[in-house]
């Protein structure tokens, strides 16, 4: 017993990730935390997307299930789980079964190396970014097999489009990533790193986010990645594989119920994953704004307030909404529910204001806030842009992003050479 507690405690002071420190207990805890956090994030994202999109489109979005539709994602999830799981009779059943799992596995596995903080990652791999790109590229396998296994024309076309699209945009994405890796090598030893944590530390050491490095090269590289990542995740305006108006639902046309929800889950976690890459590579990962310019205990204290204040603000918003709920008895439960939700938010905010907690949590907070900004962008794109046509999409990928990426890579290398 003592041994176990010692084993658990031995990690606490470590400045490494649990994976790198070889602590199985904490690694497992982190895996569970990431899994639960991701699931919650997907659920929240589902609700937020519907609400934000709705408000962009002069409508209210879900309003019935729970106050302001807060319970709608849960209701949806229940519906999907209880739904009949249809398998087309002519489908290749084994492959049809496996495909969604490949996608989900790929989408979740990448989070092994995502650094939520200097020590808040499941593990820190030497080849972190390579691992992320590699594993996320596996999800295309799931999509292709799903489209093929359905044995139907629309899914097949969706799958073809999807694989072509993902393979081509991976190239541009890779070039943008390589330019960042070149930037990490601008240190006295001249050695760069592929490790996710190492990349953030390099930004810290060089005193700038890589988006501002060699202005405008970093910015252009970031832009290339930001476009490619939308295409990688099959989101509007690059949502051709599931273009509703053309291919009904693309590669998952024949899927229903639980298996369909796996695709849904995978899509959203893939969005979070690529956003995490972008945040880590260009936006300083877990670093708070101006970590070098605004140093000192006072600034540390000031920035440590943000997580708590954010939650308090959200809580206040919920209280305000609760006070504006209709006063009809019919709405009593909903009002109470919203008030309860507000109370929970305020409580979390209060806990986060407590300095020891806020110090631990603030890295995660900044990281999540940056990712959340990307998520908002995703929704915004979807509300604004029409859909590209397939040849245009390929043209953008091969004729615009790829040459630009190459140019950025070469220019970054040149700039790096002179700086050193």
């Amino acid at each position: 017993m003592h041994v176990i507690i010692d084993y658990i405690q031995s990690y606490l002071g470590s400045d490494q990730t649990p994976g790198a420190a070889g602590n199985w207990f904490w690694a497992t805890v982190y895996v569970l935390l990431v899994f639960v956090g991701l699931s919650v994030a997907v659920i929240a994202m589902n609700w937020l997307e519907r609400k934000i999109l709705a408000h962009m489109q002069v409508r209210l979005g879900p309003m019935r299930v729970g106050p302001h539709g807060l319970l709608q994602p849960i209701a949806d999830a229940l519906k999907l789980l209880l739904k009949e799981d249809l398998i087309p009779s002519e489908a290749d059943k084994t492959v049809f079964w496996i495909a969604p799992f490949i996608v989900v596995l790929a989408a979740f596995t990448v989070f092994v190396v995502v650094p939520f903080g200097p020590t808040h990652a499941i593990t820190d791999m030497n080849i972190g970014i390579l691992f992320m790109l590699g594993v996320s590229s596996l999800s295309v396998l799931g999509i292709v097999t799903a489209g093929w296994a359905s044995n139907s024309h629309y899914p097949l076309i969706g799958a073809l489009r999807s694989s072509a699209q993902m393979v081509s945009y991976e190239v541009a994405m890779g070039l943008a990533v390589v330019s960042v890796i070149l930037m990490t090598s601008l240190n006295p030893t001249g050695t760069g790193t592929l490790s996710m944590i190492g990349i953030v530390r390099a930004q810290q050491a060089q005193g700038t986010w890589f988006i501002f490095k060699f202005f405008p090269l970093g910015l252009i590289g970031f832009f290339i990645f930001a476009v490619a990542m939308v295409a990688e995740t099959n989101r509007a305006p690059f949502d051709l594989p599931e273009a509703e108006s053309e291919l009904t639902a693309g590669f998952h046309t024949e899927y229903s119920g639980f298996r369909w929800s796996l695709f849904f889950l995978a899509e959203y976690s893939a969005m979070i994953a690529v956003s995490s890459i972008a945040v880590t590579l260009w936006l300083g990962g877990w670093l708070r704004p101006f970590p070098n310019a605004l140093q000192g205990a006072r600034w540390d204290f000031f920035f440590a307030l943000f997580p708590g204040i954010t939650f308090l603000f959200l809580g206040a918003l919920a209280i305000f909404s609760a006070s504006r709920m209709p006063k009809h008895p019919y709405f009593r439960i909903q009002t109470l529910g919203l008030a309860g939700f507000a109370a929970v938010l305020v409580l979390i905010g209060a806990v986060l204001l407590y300095p020891p907690v806020s110090r631990v949590v603030q890295d995660v907070f900044w990281f999540s806030a940056k990712v959340a900004a990307f998520m908002y962008l995703y929704i915004w794109y979807r509300g604004t842009f029409p859909r590209y046509r397939f040849d245009q999409l390929m043209k953008v990928g091969w004729k615009v992003l790829l040459p630009t990426g190459l140019a950025v890579l070469i220019l970054t290398a040149t700039a790096g050479f002179f700086v050193r």
Partner: protein, 173 residues
């Protein structure tokens, strides 16, 4: 980090690879074969990881599993599965095939039993943390880069292959 349960993972990955490899040649459905091949390739990536060669493992996943196999599937999906399923899996030269496989197996066994002196005992000389840098040094290092020339030759060859493929595939340029 100390390796954990190394033999277990080795045998697990090796078994996966072998089963995957066997499935590749026995499945009549080409897509199933491709999926089995992907499994085998992923297991191989795992073995690279165990050899403290994470860079090779990552490249294996990106290139083989993520890139090449997707293109394989791409092609396979477009051909008629019904016809391939009717075709005979083994042709008349299966005896020769078995003989060759047996010879190769014999060679492996011979190397395993006798050849300890041929290969230095132990692992790759680079530790896990420095492996990627080590690979880079071998390829591009100013003083250590012994493979620079061959690397560039290889890339030139690939470029030629790409252009050739485009020329042959495109009816009109």
């Amino acid at each position: 980090m100390a390796p954990v349960a190394t033999p277990f993972f080795f045998y697990l990955l090796a078994a996966t690879m072998i089963i995957g490899g066997v499935l590749v040649i026995t499945r009549k459905n080409a897509v199933h074969s491709a999926l089995a091949l992907i499994t085998a390739l992923l297991a191989q990536a795992g073995i690279y990881l165990m050899l403290y060669a994470p860079f090779v493992a990552g490249v294996q996943i990106i290139l083989y599993a993520g890139g090449i196999m997707v293109l394989f599937l791409f092609v396979i999906m477009l051909i008629s599965i019904e016809r391939t399923e009717k075709e005979r899996q083994f042709n008349k030269q299966w005896l020769v095939g078995i003989a060759t496989a047996g010879a190769l197996g014999g060679l492996f066994i011979a190397v395993y039993t006798k050849g300890k002196s041929l290969f230095p005992e132990g692992r790759l000389s680079y530790p896990e943390s420095g492996n990627t840098q080590g690979v880079a040094d071998l390829l591009y290092g100013q003083h250590t880069g012994t493979y620079m020339f061959s690397f560039e030759i290889a890339s030139l060859l690939l470029l030629v292959a790409i252009i050739g493929a485009v020329v042959m595939a495109k009816k009109r340029i």
